[in-house]
């Protein structure tokens, strides 16, 4: 790009109504979060998020002090995060939240109200994405904190010391980062799939399979997987055996910041293409 055209692009950027877009994005996000979290249809996502917490609570109530030691429980929690949340809970939760954002409204025949509002389609899409991400992070983040507390609460003062002053807090931070990145990563992909296909489910199942076999793929191909980045952020390695080993194996060690930036770059790439699809989207409900 020449200096002149770069200057022109900067001038054009400055002329855009950023403050209006910001207000619109905030208001759309509020509306969408309300729709994502406070409807009856969201109950099964609550279920996906909190089922481990419910199981841990039952253990705490009826099976107190009879379990393994704290280090074993730390591994169990790491397994819950890596094998349940990343592979199933957040995956299907995000499928439910993000594929509904656009496609769900097309099925309900109400998307046109947004497309007839004075909001740029990119702002609509990114606001919906952000609202979906906030919804997923709130649900799964809260569930993760609940799991963490329930796992160690049984150990009394030693458990609280581990959580607040020991390595527990760092592990919780890492798990929450994984929740945020998993929600953003899977969310962006499901949003794109819902724009590309009337039924995003077959695409989601393919993605699930892809994420499972990704560790045995060549290094370059591994870059196109959400779970492969998240594996590098796990604070505790999971000693899995058999088929589960495939889901937890870390083929090529990568530093945490490279994993975070890599995943964010992947998300940005997917969202850019999704914005392009959104711009060309036509309302033809009869074909839904």
């Amino acid at each position: 790009m020449t200096q002149h055209s770069f200057g022109y692009a900067v001038a054009m950027m400055r002329q855009q109504p950023w403050s209006l877009w910001w207000i619109q994005a905030r208001r759309m996000t509020t509306i969408e979060i309300r729709r994502n979290l406070f409807t009856r249809r969201a109950w099964w996502i609550y279920f996906l998020a909190f089922i481990p917490a419910v199981i841990l609570l039952i253990h705490l109530l009826i099976d107190s002090h009879s379990g393994p030691g704290m280090s074993d429980d730390t591994e169990v929690l790491a397994g819950v995060v890596q094998l349940y949340y990343v592979r199933l809970g957040i995956f299907f939760g995000c499928l439910g939240i993000f594929s509904r954002l656009i496609r769900g409204e097309m099925i309900e025949r109400s998307l046109h109200y947004y497309l007839l509002s004075p909001v740029r389609r990119e702002v609509i899409l990114l606001s919906k994405f952000f609202a979906g991400a906030v919804s997923a992070v709130v649900l799964f983040g809260a569930a993760m904190i609940a799991d963490f507390v329930l796992m160690y609460a049984d150990y009394g003062a030693a458990g609280w010391d581990f959580m607040l002053h020991g390595p527990g807090l760092g592990q919780l931070e890492a798990y929450l980062l994984i929740v945020v990145l998993a929600s953003l990563g899977y969310g962006s992909i499901f949003l794109l799939l819902s724009l590309m296909f009337r039924n995003p489910m077959p695409g989601a199942m393919l993605l699930l399979g892809w994420e499972a076999i990704n560790p045995v793929m060549p290094s370059l191909v591994q870059k196109f997987s959400v779970a492969s980045y998240l594996r590098h952020l796990m604070p505790v390695s999971v000693p899995a055996e058999g088929i589960f080993a495939l889901l937890t194996v870390e083929t090529e060690p990568v530093s945490a910041w490279v994993a975070v930036l890599g995943l964010l770059a992947l998300i940005a790439l997917v969202l850019t293409y999704t914005c392009y699809r959104m711009r060309r989207l036509e309302i033809r409900y009869t074909t839904e």
Binding site: E105, S110, S117
Partner: protein, 317 residues
């Protein structure tokens, strides 16, 4: 003001859904006032409206509304309101919330949005109690009203209404028509598609006839009727001696049909040459044998034009 900035323009617009034709080679200019789109089901009326508002994109040609394109959403939709035919709403909202949520996206203050919401609901005569109930419990007429309220709430300059009278009872229809008329008088572009031709005909400044995706005719209803030369025009003449008038008129060969009015105080006459017809009628009036009380065209309305140009089967004739 530049003419392009005050009109809705279609320039050689075509829209294909795969291999299915939506509309083909439509060139059209719509001025302020009330314009009615007339055509049978599947003729392309909704496609035309969706193209106008950017819900679908043209396969060919260009569209501008007041000089704006839908891709410039911020400015475009501040000027355009569309009450689409889709009878569906976001779940769980009350009527008030639905209109308010839409207005909040304009970036206005919450106070202004509340004020405009109340005003719009008042204009469509949806009372306060009903507007605070969930839309899911609304009757079809109430849903129609709330969609109309949402389309007009931000005071657009162009209002596009797809079958806005569907589901409304006669009283609500009359109120809606009065509202459209008022908006048209204020200089707004009101584009209506409707099957209730008799009613929209009374308020329309012009009609656009469309069938099979093709534009058949456009313009003032009377002008369009005059253009349909191959169909004899029908005139109702109120007089004291309709039989005598009919016999005199039949003396000339351009009069092709006469039918007495049900009350016996008038006659419907069909003529293939309206100018000659009126000349002869003047002569008869001057003679004084028949006392003529009123003369009115009986078939230059949207309904008759629809029948003549499109036919009851929807095929252009």
């Amino acid at each position: 003001m530049n003419a392009a900035n005050d009109t809705i323009r279609f320039e050689n617009v075509s829209k294909f859904y795969g291999e299915v034709l939506g509309v083909n080679r439509i060139s059209l200019t719509v001025s302020p006032g009330i314009t009615t789109l007339v055509g049978p089901n599947g003729s392309g009326k909704t496609t035309l409206m969706n193209l106008m508002t950017g819900l679908v994109q043209p396969s060919r040609g260009t569209i501008s509304v007041l000089g704006l394109a839908p891709s410039n959403a911020t400015e475009f939709f501040c000027n355009v309101g569309y009450c689409a035919q889709f009878d569906s709403f976001p779940r769980g909202l009350t009527g008030f919330q639905f209109v308010l949520d839409g207005l909040m996206l304009f970036g206005m203050s919450e106070e202004d949005a509340y004020h405009l919401t109340a005003e719009a609901l008042d204009r469509v005569q949806l009372d306060g109690e009903a507007s605070h109930r969930k839309i899911a419990g609304y009757s079809k007429g109430m849903r129609q009203k709330i969609r109309l309220a949402q389309a007009i709430a931000h005071h657009p300059r162009v209002l596009v209404l797809d079958e806005p009278l569907n589901g409304l009872d006669p009283m609500a229809r009359a109120e809606s028509l009065a509202l459209f008329q008022e908006l048209g008088r204020q200089g707004m572009h009101v584009v209506i598609s409707s099957h209730i031709l008799d009613e929209v005909d009374r308020i329309s400044d012009r009609v656009v006839l469309i069938t099979g995706g093709y534009l058949i005719a456009q313009g003032n209803i009377h002008e369009v009727r005059r253009e349909v030369r191959d169909k004899p025009m029908q005139v109702l003449i109120r007089c004291n001696s309709p039989e005598l008038l009919a016999s005199k008129m039949f003396a000339v060969n351009h009069c092709v049909e006469a039918r007495l009015h049900a009350d016996g105080r008038g006659v419907f006459l069909r003529t293939g040459d309206i100018d000659q017809f009126y000349r002869l009628l003047n002569e008869i009036a001057v003679e004084g044998l028949v006392k003529i009380e009123a003369v009115a065209p009986a078939d230059d309305n949207a309904n008759a034009i629809y029948q003549y140009l499109i036919g009851s089967d929807g095929s252009a004739s």
